[in-house]
Symmetry: C2
Subunit: 277 residues, 2 copies
């Protein structure tokens, strides 16, 4: 039998989406000031908190997303805990997406690709398109790994450059270029949870590429639009990522139970919308 | 007396530019397969190699640049050696620019800013503009630190998005937006060593903002254009970064002497061009 981690990323994603009947992704945005105090006076608080959240939610998700920024800010210790968390997620046979938004010229981008896929051993990552195709190519060469290119984000700064363009907004030019570069069938797009028309339009352009949709929950994104218009016609390949409103749902002893309840609620809401989509 | 590291970045840069009469920046792009073999069988080869290069070149440069990609690919050890190298550069009272090309939405970008300025303690960093102003702002809030925003790069992929635009290419829109955001006078631009007209145009737009110009040497950039048109009218605030052709100039016992000779040659060439500029 083929090990899940040896599959191509889209197949791995399809299998966990089906197994857990879920498009929900839990974002493990660690913040030591928000985790229950019981973790703080023990060894490895970051990993042990993540482990409890993963144990509570692993049957409700299609993937986990780890934004490396929140680990880098804790220095060497944060990155060690990140590695341990990714290993643990993979033991549970769920894909781990390292949200790193890297991108540089040729040999520097190759070094970044080695870092995310060989050092941190992520199953997929996010990249920034500003430097163009040769900044994305070193990532694509890791054929079994998923590579999500930033397309349209949901923050106020999206209007500075992404939506700019007389004939066509930049984010659509990016989406088209990503499709052209998708020779290894391992590319996807990052699309912030924004309005229905934008998500619908990007899904039409993306065809069957996976779309990672962060920004639900604490960031006030639009869950309904993401769930209705993010997936393909089969109702798959949308990864709807929710971070703080799940992992910090409770602060007391039952924080994991409360995270589980919140994850279940969001998973079910997403499924209601996608079934009618 | 004010410690150099407590100055605003541009003042710190101006002081080393003047002291060493140099616009040259040495890029410490570490590659264990290219450093002399004598380092490989001892403790901490990355730091010890960097230290020898810094000792040999510290009177010839205005700054050092460290691309974090080349340290991340060596995992935890690489990042420990990066921290040690930055500390060492600062003991020598030269600014250390951490070329990290980060950028994310609000609170994630703040986490990245903390990583580069508080964990790695860099004096300046590079950021990617794709996500817009709120991805850059958390960096700007570190008022004494330098923040170089990617504008126009010299790699083939520059034509995908950076030069695109009917009325005005994206990179000029980025340059203008960076000027608007420069309330703390700590922003700068990253401009690949390309043709004279482009560098001249960007310098005119940037007024007295510092410009970081990588891509000289191994990447085949245009040293003359960078040195003539990169600086302000005073002949300052251009940081011309050369990496591999200096640090790997020699492979034998005298590698540091050869690096020094190459750095001196480039420093002098830059000064010839900038004097006549």
């Amino acid at each position: 039998m083929v090990k899940l981690t040896d599959m191509k990323f889209v197949d791995y994603l399809d299998s966990t989406t089906k197994k857990n009947d879920s498009l929900l992704c839990v974002g493990l945005d660690i913040d030591l000031s928000r985790i229950p105090h019981t973790f703080l006076n023990k060894e490895d608080p970051i990993f042990n908190f993540n482990k409890e959240i993963i144990l509570a939610t692993k049957e409700l998700v299609c993937a986990y997303k780890l934004n490396i920024a929140f680990y880098e800010m804790y220095g060497i210790y944060g990155l060690e805990a990140l590695k341990r968390t990714i290993e643990y997620i993979q033991e549970e046979e769920i894909p781990a997406i390292l949200d790193a938004k890297r991108g540089d010229i040729g040999n520097s981008s190759l070094a970044y690709a080695k870092a995310v896929f060989e050092v941190y051993k992520a199953d997929a990552t996010t990249v920034n398109p500003y430097l163009g195709y040769d900044s994305i190519e070193p990532f694509i060469e890791f054929r079994n790994k998923g590579v999500f290119v930033l397309c349209l984000t949901s923050n106020p700064g999206r209007y500075d450059f992404q939506t700019r363009g007389e004939k066509e907004p930049l984010y659509k030019v990016v989406a088209k270029r990503v499709k052209e570069l998708n020779k290894n069938k391992n590319l996807g797009l990052v699309v912030g949870a924004t309005n229905p028309e934008e998500i619908k339009g990007i899904r039409a352009m993306a065809e069957d590429m996976p779309i990672l949709i962060p920004g639900i929950g604490a960031q006030g994104g639009n869950l309904e639009a993401a769930a209705k218009y993010g997936p393909t016609k089969n109702g798959t390949r949308a990864i709807i990522s929710v971070s703080r409103s799940i992992i910090y749902a409770g602060k007391g002893e039952d924080f994991a139970g409360q995270a589980k309840a919140e994850a279940r609620k969001l998973k079910d809401m997403i499924n209601q919308y996608r079934r009618t989509g």
